[in-house]
């Protein structure tokens, strides 16, 4: 192997095989992948969840994760949020000529570790290399298939009095990547919350029909996701600013960057609307799970302000939280 990836590694010839067989397969091997066919043959399920996501995060190594970990978590988490149990992933790379082979290996190792953690197999994939200047390091696409385990989730099941919960401090991924990229603030130790949500999701969904809807609030942040919950319904959501868990570091960095944690991306949090009678019990349970220690009830579903999300501010004011507008943090995932 060369120490950088050149165009010929994407030629489809011998060097492409080298990349696949020397780097990818040893780390990700399983019965389906080892056949190295054009596609993988999988056992059928009665009801499936199918999801896809592309990853272009810049920088591709950041505090708390990297593009590899993110590319597994992203798709796995989407499947979990639909009530699915993730099983298989496809994995495709677009690599810019000149990419360091050791960085590629690091990314593959991270994919391996994350895939093991959430018990999914990478069963098919593709690798392309583009000329220098035509890409930016590395882009990844993953698609995933899961078995549908819980088919009752939907915003039509929310009702007045339900409670809104979140599984921990918000806004960490968006801010961590932003800081890493801009190198703006020193002395603030911020780590992306990037992690697979399969375990937390299972804990939540164990409450069966008491769970109304859940989502991982990635781009657009908590505020945007909650808006999607109430859009087109006769219900509104009222949040309490003082109950929303935000770390001091995120708060401080947001002040300096001029962004709002409510709109900053998360890659390891679930926000869910749940029946009020189990909310406390659920929070207790979630707080015992790794990554769920800061779980909290942050608001409630109301019949006021239908189709709107409102925020009761710490000083007692109320304001509307719209979907993310204007402000953008490009290429955070």
């Amino acid at each position: 192997m060369d120490d950088i990836i050149t165009l010929s590694y994407g030629s489809g010839g011998k060097k492409t095989s080298e990349l696949i067989e020397d780097i990818i397969v040893p780390h990700l091997k399983n019965d389906e992948l080892l056949k190295l066919n054009d596609g993988a043959v999988l056992k059928g399920f009665s009801k499936m969840v199918f999801s896809t996501d592309s990853f272009v995060v810049n920088p591709y190594f950041f505090s708390g994760g990297d593009i590899g970990k993110l590319s597994v978590c992203g798709t796995v988490n989407d499947i979990c949020m639909c009530g699915g149990e993730p099983r298989y992933l496809s994995l495709s790379f677009i690599i810019e000529e000149g990419f360091k082979t050791k960085d590629f290996l690091k990314i593959i190792e991270s994919i391996e570790k994350t895939a093991k953690e959430c018990n999914v197999k990478v069963v098919t994939g593709d690798t392309k290399v583009v000329e220098k200047g035509k890409g930016d390091g590395i882009f990844i696409n993953t698609s995933g298939i899961g078995i549908l385990k819980y088919d009752f989730l939907g915003k039509d099941r929310m009702k007045d009095g339900d409670l809104v919960i979140v599984t921990g401090n918000i806004g960490e991924h968006g801010v961590a990547v932003m800081l890493e990229r801009e190198q703006l603030i020193t002395g603030v130790n911020l780590i992306s919350d990037c992690m697979p949500l399969n375990i937390l999701a299972k804990e939540i969904l164990d409450f069966k029909e008491k769970i109304k809807i859940m989502r991982d609030p990635t781009r657009g942040g908590l505020a945007t996701t909650l808006n999607e919950f109430v859009e087109g319904t006769d219900l509104g959501i009222e949040l309490y600013e003082d109950r929303i868990p935000v770390s001091n570091e995120v708060n401080m960095a947001c002040e300096i960057l001029g962004i709002d944690p409510l709109y900053s991306a998360n890659e390891g949090k679930i926000v869910a609307v749940v029946s009020s009678d189990i909310a406390e019990q659920l929070i207790e349970k979630l707080r015992k799970v790794k990554g769920g220690e800061k779980s909290a009830i942050i608001g409630k579903v109301t019949s006021n302000f239908k189709g709107r999300v409102t925020l009761k501010t710490e000083i007692g004011g109320t304001r509307i939280l719209t979907k993310l507008t204007g402000m953008q943090l490009p290429r955070i995932c």
Binding site: E182, L184, N248, N251, M252, G258, D260, F305, T310, L311, T313, E314, I315, G316, G317, T318, R319, I320, T322, T325, G326, M327
Partner: protein, 362 residues
């Protein structure tokens, strides 16, 4: 006191109950865009009784920049040898042609970079010797000193391909202009704490000395603002019209001498045009003649005299505090954050953007 505690000071309820029980009609202007956003974000307007009105003033730098200057920058950006560096707020500001802005220029392949400090623009100039780096410097006394520092750095390092397009303005002249208007009807000012960090309490002393308008130099947390409103009410009630400094944790009587000195070393006053207001004498900052090689206006021979007030929206009236954003006929119908027409909507600190994004539920 921790930073967080300024958001919700312990005795805020007591102060709020006094404010809530106040029954006279008063109009308080928050001069600064950062205050506008903070007020909107914390829902302060919804807490105040109807008779206490908060009016946004001319303190959002993007909002007061005339469209013609944006056009100048857009024209410069089309020059393949030019690299435009500027603050993030500037990239989406539309010029006089609908849909034209720096963000679009970037997508078209022209070189536009967002920087957090003009020093980064000097760094870029150092790394891209084949480009003329133009830093579009915008802002009041808060950002003007850092533009001056950048010029000094470029001089010291012999960076010749760097220049500043100064859109910098001063706060005092526009306040005087507003106060001297016939229909001026503001009872108190919330003065921008960030500007005061530089120019000091003395920079706002004229409000007390010459005009006897109750004014408070104010920090940017909700608690700061509510306390300052309370102080203005107290001054009105006690008929003691003076300037107070609520933001003592950052603002000194004389301000930041170093920042003032470097600003005065490189910049001098010039007559300048304010969007919606027109030309105000000695209200702008331009680079002194001896630094003209760092002045984009001179370097590219730009003609800044043109100004036709042909804005189709009411940004000018909003900036002067004459109307509320909602009263502009384009607000939220044609002019939205997604498709802003006026500068007050495009700037994240603009009164219209704040009203659109965080509208209160009173």
């Amino acid at each position: 006191m921790l930073w967080d505690e300024f958001k919700k000071p312990k005795d805020i309820e007591r102060i709020l109950s006094i404010i809530r029980n106040y029954d006279k009609e008063i109009r308080i202007m928050e001069i600064c865009g950062t205050h506008t956003v903070s007020i909107a974000k914390s829902g302060i307007k919804g807490i105040l009784p109807e008779n206490i009105k908060l009016i946004s003033g001319p303190g959002c730098p993007v909002c007061v920049t005339p469209t013609e200057r944006i056009d100048d920058i857009l024209l410069l950006s089309k020059n393949k040898d030019v690299l435009i560096a500027t603050y993030g707020d500037m990239v989406r500001v539309p010029g006089s042609i609908y849909g034209e802005n720096l963000e679009k220029r970037k997508a078209q392949g022209f070189d536009v970079r967002i920087v957090y400090s003009p020093l980064d623009a000097v760094k870029i100039a150092n790394n891209c010797k084949n480009k003329e780096v133009v830093f579009a410097g915008i802002g009041f006394e808060t950002t003007a000193p850092s533009s001056a520092v950048a010029v000094e750095k470029a001089m010291n390092e012999g960076v010749k391909n760097f220049s500043v397009f100064s859109l910098h303005k001063k706060v005092e002249p526009v306040l005087r202009e507003l106060i001297n208007m016939n229909d001026f009807n503001i009872n108190g000012f919330l003065c921008p704490g960030n500007v005061a960090v530089i120019i000091g309490e003395e920079g706002f002393r004229f409000l007390e000395r010459e005009f006897k308008i109750p004014s408070v130099i104010c920090g940017f947390e909700a608690g700061d603002i509510i306390y300052s409103i309370y102080r203005i009410i107290q001054m009105i009630e006690n008929k003691v019209y003076k300037l107070e400094n609520e933001y003592i944790r950052a603002v000194k009587p004389k301000g930041n001498e170093i920042a003032k000195n470097i600003m005065n070393k490189y910049f001098e006053l010039c007559d300048d045009i304010w969007r919606g207001i027109g030309c105000i004498k000695n209200s702008g900052l331009k680079l002194k003649d001896e630094y003209s090689q760092y002045d984009s206006v001179k370097k590219f021979n730009l003609d800044l005299t043109l100004y036709k007030n042909n804005d189709f929206c009411s940004c000018g009236e909003v900036i002067k505090g004459k109307i509320e954003p909602r009263e502009c006929k384009l607000f939220s119908s044609v002019c939205t954050i997604e498709n802003p027409l006026g500068s007050c909507m495009v700037s994240s600190e603009g009164a219209c953007a704040a009203a659109y994004k965080y509208f209160d539920l009173r």
